[in-house]
Symmetry: C2
Subunit: 217 residues, 2 copies
DNA sequence: CGAGAGATTGACTGCGGTCAAAAAGCGTGG
DNA sequence: CCACGCTTTTTGACCGCAGTCAATCTCTCG
């Protein structure tokens, strides 16, 4: 990797916040600053995390140092669910954020006693599976314009026509398996075609959702 | 899509085999011929299926008719697990095969009563999630040679050095998000470099596993 | 207001896709 | 068992999308 792009510089400042009401398996909330690492690839997966505020990315790095972003987690999402004993991806704060850690062992034990918890856990796992499958499908078959269209639709709730991008172009590129240049080109092209508007780089207004949907295929 | 490649022509010939010993939620086994459809994308997901013999592909088709293969299922695998009420991919027999259908409702009910079943179900879901994530990562970042190297290693158990490909080049291409031509070129190149041997197209002997692993990254 | 990070734009290149044709398997029937 | 025909695979030539490298522009924040 060239030195032109510096990745997260993790400074572990795990400030303990007042403990909110929560299930028995929940530990006190933790807060992280933007670009701080929450857990690392290969680290023992002893906790699940419920995202209370902010945005988190699940990502990995290959031998050449290139980053791949598996998923973004939004408020309410639970991340850190694994099949193995270790995390298969790192988790990093995209923005400042607050998470509630759930002790994995305790959650699993509770699932054995409480059917509702078991259902919750299964639901989170199947949802994660479905998301990962859809993402793989996108990466396998979509062209760059299609990827961007899909990404914008994924981020914009059915109602709203405007969104604030919390993540940088590099994050988008690493999520879509492409490059910042291509992301930039596609977004600018969409703006020229009046499909979107970008008053500033991080703010996007959807002008023609139908056109986006058609592009996404 | 050009007319040069004909996909599966499903002829539903669901022969009922003698019922093997199995859990209460299992229905009698079904057998399918090569290229028969087991279930279709969008169809209500009322069953899970345990693969008893043969090979199955989980796949979808885009607007242009291009196929994407999400996963291959091997003997012992359970497929058809979904987050939603409908199947998000089709399942097709790659070779002749036999499956045992499990009634989804019954499995889920049993999971509520029997912790072991709940654990089994959760384990299958998290494993499917992990597989899908790994696949997405491969599709996002790997070059064509890397994809092929990864594929060969994925198919070859640690011990064995030889494998019989049950699937066609088109299946491999659709699984790796590439084309038959590229698959063919990469395999032939690997053979020229003495990394593998191909006495016939469907039989591959790994000559230099370390080189493959290095390629896969 | 200045510095530095982040985003855009442009020129060029190369990997892998597309189209086309030849070769190799493989099953079927004489 | 061999010959034929169809399918699958390989090979070749060419091209286009998106990656790379590099320069410029534009925010944001101190």
């Amino acid at each position: 990797m060239s030195a032109s792009f510096a990745y997260a510089t993790p400074r572990p400042r795990l400030e303990i916040l007042p403990r909110p009401v929560g299930p028995a398996y929940a530990d006190p909330a933790l807060s992280f600053e933007a670009d701080e690492e929450i857990f690392a690839e290969g680290e023992p997966a002893r906790y699940l995390y419920r995202l209370v505020s902010g945005l988190v990315r699940s990502c990995g790095f290959d031998a050449e140092g290139r980053r791949y972003i598996d998923r973004f987690y939004r408020v309410g999402d639970v991340f850190g669910i694994e099949d193995s004993a270790e995390h298969e991806f790192s988790a990093e704060a995209v923005t400042d954020c607050v998470v509630v850690p759930w002790r994995r062992r305790a959650v699993e034990a509770e699932a054995g006693r409480d059917e509702a918890v078991a259902k919750l856990l299964l639901g989170m796992a199947t949802q994660a599976m479905a998301k990962a499958r859809a993402h793989a499908r996108l990466l396998a078959r979509a062209s760059a314009p299609q990827k961007l269209a899909h990404f914008l639709l994924e981020l914009t709730p059915p109602g709203a026509g405007e969104l604030e991008l919390a993540m940088a172009r590099q994050d988008i590129a690493d999520y879509l398996g492409t490059t910042i240049e291509t992301v930039s080109r596609m977004l600018c092209q969409l703006e020229r075609e009046h499909v979107i508007e970008m008053p500033v780089a991080r703010r996007i207004r959807l002008r023609n959702r139908a056109a986006l949907a058609a592009l996404a295929g």
